[in-house]
Amino acid sequence: MTLSEQFLAALVQYGLPALFVIVLVSSAGAPLPSSLLLVATGSLVQQGQFSFWPVVGLGVAGSMLGDHLGYGLGRLGGRKLADRVARLVGGQRGLLAAESAMRRWGGPSIFLSRWLVTAVGPAINLTSGIALVSWWSFFLYDLAGETVWVAGYLGIGRYFSDQVEALTTLLGDLRWALLALAIAALLGWLLWRQRPQRDRSASVPQANAPLPMAQPEE
């Protein structure tokens, strides 16, 4: 049995408590196949083994608990550690910029990293804590995002209940494609940002260049 199959076996054998624990640990940052489990649980819901809404509630609770572990870690001890690392490697400006970006885009990034680009979820939890994003804000965006993730994957699992394996492979591919696309978009944006700066520097005269003087009339 592969690792994924062992987790599926745990789900079949122990039911929803297994789902709760695996989703919690996965949201805290461990690379476990939680999306696969949600799709398989959706199939079991379709077969009448579980009810839909209790599973949604349990899944959301487990994943939020895992997210809050990361957030709490960042909030309690992450700032000191990040400062120390930044001093060591000389990245204090970068740290400040990251914090500022997190305060500005924190909400949408928390929401989207719950269900769309899930690979960065644990890192966003930690940086939200380090950037001191307010707990209420984190909680609400987290709740919204995790509900979309859990209910969405369960719903897909219900609809394609006879094709669990093919579906999870497909979703895995799409998740990696989205992550790669997000990285491409970020790098593309950084490249694009270089262009106007270079154009501006070409049109604005240099500070030490001689000013154009009016020629005295003869």
């Binding site: 079949v12 669990v164 394996e165 591919d173």
Partner: protein, 126 residues
């Protein structure tokens, strides 16, 4: 920005686009079984009702093929059943696939009563 770091950014950008393309192609390939609703693989973690649901056959057909009595709410995995019957999971899977094929070739007539339980010469309910 130095030219080498811009080249590095460009390289990363192209590589990320390449990886996106590869995974989109893989996704298109993996979407085919979903569109065509092909039969999935039988795995050790699956229960008999799960296999029956995936293959769209009554569970009783599969229980009968394995020489077992149907159990309501059965949560025994094929791995467990295989151990109890002294077979491998792949041997059990072969038996189940044969039963599915046979059921599809000659499904019982509507007025013909399907067997709900079978005499179990060996090894009994899992």
């Amino acid at each position: 920005m130095r030219s080498w770091s811009r080249w590095l950014l460009l390289l990363g950008f192209v590589a990320a686009l390449g990886v996106t393309f590869i995974f989109v192609m893989r996704a298109v390939e993996h979407a085919r079984p979903l569109r065509q609703r092909t039969d999935p693989a039988i795995r050790g973690w699956m229960t008999i009702p799960f296999v029956a649901h995936s293959y769209h056959v009554p569970p009783s057909v599969l229980y009968q093929a394995l020489g077992l009595q149907p159990v309501r709410g059965d949560q025994h995995m094929l791995t467990t059943i295989a151990q109890l019957q002294g077979r491998t999971v792949s041997a059990e899977a072969t038996i189940l696939r044969q039963a599915v094929t046979q059921f599809r070739v000659s499904p019982p007539k509507p007025n013909q009563r399907r067997p709900t339980s079978t005499p179990t010469p060996s090894p009994g309910t899992p």
